[in-house]
Every structure is written in structure tokens, then in C-alpha cells.
Symmetry: C2
């Protein structure tokens, strides 16, 4: 099983570098995943279809699409599922699943509180 991490893409190139660095850090965590790649919804490369097609071209047969998004806006609800569905149609034998977006994780609340508390302690 491979992970394709999906980020929005920013016009600030530093922000896209951040996503590639995050992808590298995820690769270094112990996990059952055979590979972790990233793709971008807009502008930056690879696009979501390209990211999926690259994996499929390398004979990957199971892909978890992991949306690095905080809110269930149009990108999460419509755009990502649509792009994934198009590639799925062309590659019916590949299993592609979309993981709930990051903002749906219960632990986000604690993490936000932790960020605020860290700031308070550093004063």
C-alpha cells in the first residue's frame, strides 16, 4: 500500500517545499506503507492525476489518498474525489481509497490547544 499525500499548493514556493519535506519525514517514520509520495491540487507538480498515474505506472496496486486539508471545503468534498474517480475509471484494477482529511482527526483539538499552551509557556 502506498500513500499519496495531497496538498493544496501555494503560490509561495516555500510552502510547497514544506510539503515535500513533510513527505520525506513521513517516509522516515516506521510504517507498513511501501512508499509515500505527494501531489498538489493546483499549480505545483505533480498534479493529483499525475501522482496517481506515476504510482500506477510503477505497478502499485493499492493507494491511500491522504488529504492534507483542515476543512471540508469544496476541495475535500468535490475536487479531490472527482480527480481520484477519473483516474480510478482508467485503472479499474487498482484499489484507490481516500482517507478522511486531516481536519477530521479527533486529535486536532488537542494539538491546537498544545500549540497555544506552548506559546504561553515560552513567554
Amino acid at each position: 500500500v502506498h500513500i499519496l499525500l495531497i496538498a493544496h499548493c501555494s503560490r509561495q514556493e516555500s510552502s510547497n517545499i514544506e510539503i515535500r519535506a513533510l513527505t520525506n519525514r513521513l517516509r522516515q517514520l516506521q510504517s507498513p506503507f511501501a512508499g509515500i509520495e505527494c501531489a498538489f491540487l493546483e499549480i505545483a507538480e505533480p498534479s493529483i492525476p499525475e501522482g496517481l498515474q506515476n504510482l500506477i505506472a510503477n505497478n502499485v496496486s493499492e493507494i491511500l489518498v491522504l488529504p492534507y486539508f483542515l476543512s471540508a471545503g469544496r476541495h475535500v468534498l468535490v475536487d479531490i474525489p472527482k480527480l481520484v474517480a477519473q483516474v480510478q475509471l482508467e485503472a479499474p484494477n487498482v484499489v484507490i481509497r481516500i482517507v478522511p482529511y486531516l481536519g477530521a482527526a479527533e486529535q486536532i483539538d488537542q494539538l491546537l490547544m498544545y500549540q497555544a499552551l506552548s506559546m504561553l509557556k515560552s513567554i
Copy 2:
């Protein structure tokens, strides 16, 4: 010390409801914060200046601005600091600090991996 949670705002009203629900859940966590409010960078209300001004009008003297953003794009690097600085100019006696954006939290890596692993287990 009060928290002002800042989100981008989505054209999907459900996504803004999500932020208000998150704000409510944060209020229910045990914390040293006297109050937690939210504000939006675009479209939805209150705006960031309004959110800050509402707190200041209620005699809040210390505010932590907590950006609910994953990437250090223009919003995090430029827009939020600029809006905060404008309010700070008008209220020099209020201490307003910007907490590092959520995506800067080290635990994000583990949380992403956890989301992917949860999906794998649920199959």
C-alpha cells in the same frame, strides 16, 4: 489570556460551521485560557480585525492569535500578521501574540500517519 482561532473561511457554509464547532470543543477542554473565539480571514464573520476588536471591547488585555492553517503560505506569512499589526497599532496596550500555525506543530507528522493507519485498519 484569550485565544482567537483564525480560519480561512470556505464558500461551503458547512466548513465554517465546522470551525465554530471546533471553537466550542476547544472551550470545553481544560485550559488556562479565559475565553476562546474564532474569526475568519475572508468572507465569513467576524473578520480578524472584528474578532480582535470584539475581545478588546470586552476588556481583554492579552490575546493569542492561533492560525488554523497547515502551510506557511501568503495568508500565514503576510495577511494575518498585517491584519493583527493594524489592530495592534490602534490598541497599543493590548498584548497580541501570533502562535505558530498548526502545520508547524511537530506532531502533525504522527497525526497524518495515524489517519492513514486508521484507514488501513478499517478495511
